[in-house]
Symmetry: C2
Subunit: 296 residues, 2 copies
Amino acid sequence: MTEREDAQPVAVLGLGALGSVVAGALLKAGHPTTVWNRSPGRAADLVGHGAIPAATLAEAATASPVVVLAVADADAVRAVLEPVADALAGRVVVNLTSGRPEQARDLAAWTARRGGTYLDGAAMSGTRAVGRPEALFLYSGSRETFDSAGPALRSLGRARYLGADPGTASLHDTALLGVNLGLLTGFYHAVALLGGAGVPAPDVAEVVTDYLPFAQGLLAEHARQAELRTAPPDEGTLEVLAAAVDHLVATSAGLGIGTDVPDGIRALLERGLRAGHGRDGLPSLVGVIAGTEVTR
Amino acid sequence: MTEREDAQPVAVLGLGALGSVVAGALLKAGHPTTVWNRSPGRAADLVGHGAIPAATLAEAATASPVVVLAVADADAVRAVLEPVADALAGRVVVNLTSGRPEQARDLAAWTARRGGTYLDGAAMSGTRAVGRPEALFLYSGSRETFDSAGPALRSLGRARYLGADPGTASLHDTALLGVNLGLLTGFYHAVALLGGAGVPAPDVAEVVTDYLPFAQGLLAEHARQAELRTAPPDEGTLEVLAAAVDHLVATSAGLGIGTDVPDGIRALLERGLRAGHGRDGLPSLVGVIAGTEVTR
């Protein structure tokens, strides 16, 4: 534990895969960290690194002004918080447990009734990166809470505040899962396709990594086009892209590999063609998904 | 046109969207550039920037040791090259026209019979980036040709040589289309989903851009796992991810938006579950797509 001026006492409730790395990152950053887990034995390692073990849940909940939760699900959050409801007045609850937007809103209202404030958090970069600058956490709920818990939260990685609705971090989490799996399944398909032609998987990863900055560079502009509900065909029309995906499907089938990934993309393009966007650009698909109108 | 020591005379045949920016980038980099287009009138702007206009196809084909083709398709390539077949001996043909692997192999063999060498190229970053370091071109075919045309090719952007099989650049192009559309359709779905909750599209682009380095960082490791045919469930098992995608589908449907994108991903996960990979990690999907075995 190193000394720091903005050291912020924090209690971490729940020492599973996420909670234990969160506690470890807080300790490493020099924050006095109290730890508690429902089933004992999980704290030993952290205590060896300077964590303060709480003997009871009540002790943990009252140990610090900032209470961080990382447990199995929203039911487990309620099971942990309800017995210590009376101790939450004036405290800041940061809930890193995965859940749904309505659960986050319910927990925020419940905490407010006990005199505490609530911030919902989503760990967007797995567990291994926690505590490093490449880790990303999304937060929503009380802005004051986000600011007051700032030194602790920034010790976990990049901390991004999304707004006052406690449910928005969770909704972003769900939406980003789609982005992540879109990219990864597209990548797995490329690995399978090129693997069928003898290209080793690590070589595919290298080429894809080299290529991605271009695809990434399109996001901001396509977002602007989606916002303006216009979709110039600069990068190819839906017609041309549908033909190219047909070729991807045919090539994949010809090599005997599955076509679920391009089939899903092709189904969306087909909906775009049927909606009359054959000569529009890719961002017209946003309107197709959303069911709103997009003009050329 | 600036003077440079390694200036390399190049002829660009075809001045459509790609050919004209390729010729422009070569001129800007100081290479003496001859230009030709089947229908006249396209060259005027480039000539104003120092390009040498070829009056006939024969004049263009014999103007320089390096002949770059950027026309509509493989048929157009043959239509351009056949009349000047006798002039190709000792020349280097770089074909940037999109095509299929077997077409690239045929063209390579055809060019070799005329005493020329053939390099197939794929422009992986649209047209706007051409000439800038962020542009990426993939090449396959004769290594000697790739090296000898190096100064010109490097003026177009990053030049990556993939191997002696002339078809591999085209196959990579097809595979990378799947990666690009996997990422973009995942992004469009996120824009539609979060848009339904009032989040402006540019804000979604910002969060996704902030998030992508994590997803990208997984590629190399997942490639290693695919190569070893092992898939530890570090980032979540297929079971857990299938449940999360079910939630993404349900949330999307609840907001009245289309589900093609998550449906396609879910179909692949289902195939993974049925193949017995419920407790394996995501990279087991490579084997599911490829139809090969993956062990835990």
